[in-house]
Subunit: 296 residues, 2 copies
């Protein structure tokens, strides 16, 4: 069973959550080395969500390789995901120091949130009346929770003040929102070679993405009807994806998404006002700029 | 998503793990009320394993009701199981006091073990050369781990000495072994109305149970060949189950299992030598006697 786990952890992920955790520790004056076990834990928690979500979404590819349930089988993916959580906690609980109990609580809150977020995500696939507000609150739980927790945990281990840990949590939460909208954009406009998965998988899985919901708001009635038909439809996927991309473009939803990513990243960066200037803060700003322009 | 979770937790389970945790706390002089959050946590951890194992085993019934993946669907069962772990940790981390970090570690070790045990259990379904020793070591992980952890966690919260917590861990571990052999027996000799599930499900799922492995050891060559054929076969389930029960009986495996349960329960009880006499210890002994004779 450790084969699939090694396979998942060796994938070419971006390791954003663990990097953010370590940088947050450093930004409040802590020693990032003391946060390594927690950084590994947050990456394993994230990997667990990928393995189980891929089962639920019937995804074929992840990070350029077959998903665990495709390479092995769904039972193995189920079990490997479970074990990843267990190993995540084992690593997390190696974290020494007075903050360790608090760290475990923040980690667990993020874990509860990501499950709730995934629950909403799957529920939204079946509903036709999802609002953009509901979508954002789902993303806050599903994507924002772990990223925000990574930042707070780093700050807690680094001995940050309450004001600093709250600021870093906000930073992570906004970064998470921007991250997800970029994901939605890349899913339809990205290059499959960069993405490591097929383009348009959100359409195939009937996901109500930021782009879909924004385009519904912004497009003319005829395009609006087409969007609903295309997302619910069973026609050839490539054709549906291309038509939807074109409606996203002409409705202005693609541009609106870019604007929203810049706005949310700006909010993230302003949340760092409570963090003293220095190399630590500079590296957090570097991370947010890097994410702003990512293409994979 | 909380619907399936409530459904699982409201099932007519025996709550053995949480009862053992509370009794262990009391047996070392602690206040069981201080262990309630941990007791809820251990029950949720156990429930998570049932929900995910039932998916992997394609089980139809659990505690007399449809399993979550049958009543809803496999995705909901996957997600509800995940969320149960998250909620288990949330409850566990409410435990106050100096032992709380240690409690979280013991809990997590049991979680790792139960995943490993389930991995072996599924692997054994595909292997033809499983030994009784391998089986017992799988059971120690899959069933013994959480039961032993329940006892140790109760003792830790109750402020038990190292000697007491080790003794209670052993008690739980032996109890867990006896518990599983009784489960294997009941699966083939029990009453479906008491069990809340079909009889012979282990045969259908090609599980190498204690009885199967013991009967292989004890039976004549012809019966041995029949057992292997019947377990791997695709004939009518009722007939295969009845023939296997008859071979278990005439080979002496049924009796050997009863003997092993008594022997292991005896070892469990002798592990309690380190616990001072009194009402707390009496209640632990009551629990082990009650489990010795259970029919559901």
């Amino acid at each position: 069973m450790y084969g699939p786990i090694r396979y998942v952890l060796a994938g070419r992920g971006k390791r954003i959550r663990s990097v953010l955790l370590l940088l947050s520790c450093g930004a409040v004056g802590g020693n990032p080395l003391s946060a390594l076990d927690a950084a590994a834990a947050i990456e394993m928690l994230h990997s667990f969500t990928l393995v189980h979500d891929d089962v639920m979404d019937h995804a074929e590819l992840r990070r350029g390789r077959p998903t665990v349930h495709r390479k092995w089988d769904p039972n193995i993916a189920l079990l490997a995901g479970d074990e990843l959580i267990a190993l995540a906690y084992r690593s997390l609980l190696r974290t020494a120091g007075s903050s360790s109990h608090q760290v475990a609580r923040v980690f667990t809150d993020a874990f509860v949130q990501v499950c709730e977020g995934q629950g909403f995500d799957k529920e939204f696939e079946l509903r036709t009346n999802v609002s953009l507000g509901e979508y954002m609150s789902m993303v806050r739980k599903k994507t924002g929770g772990i990223i925000a927790a990574a930042a707070r945990i780093g700050a807690l281990i680094g001995g940050g003040t309450r004001r600093e840990t709250d600021a870093l949590y906000k930073f992570g939460e906004y970064l998470g929102l921007a991250f997800q909208i970029r994901d939605d954009l890349l899913d339809i406009t990205g290059d499959p070679a960069d993405l490591g998965k097929a383009v348009g998988s959100d359409v195939v899985e009937r996901k109500k993405t930021y782009l879909f919901l924004k385009a519904l708001e912004m497009s003319a009635p005829r395009d609006r009807a087409s969007l609903v038909t295309l997302l619910g439809g069973n026609g050839r996927a490539v054709r549906r994806i291309n038509t939807m991309r074109e409606i996203y473009r002409r409705s202005g939803a693609l541009e609106a998404a870019e604007r929203e990513i810049r706005r949310t990243t700006g909010r993230a960066e302003r949340s760092l006002a409570a963090i003293g200037a220095g190399r630590g803060k500079d590296m957090l700003l570097w991370l947010s700029r890097r994410l702003l322009r990512r293409d994979s």
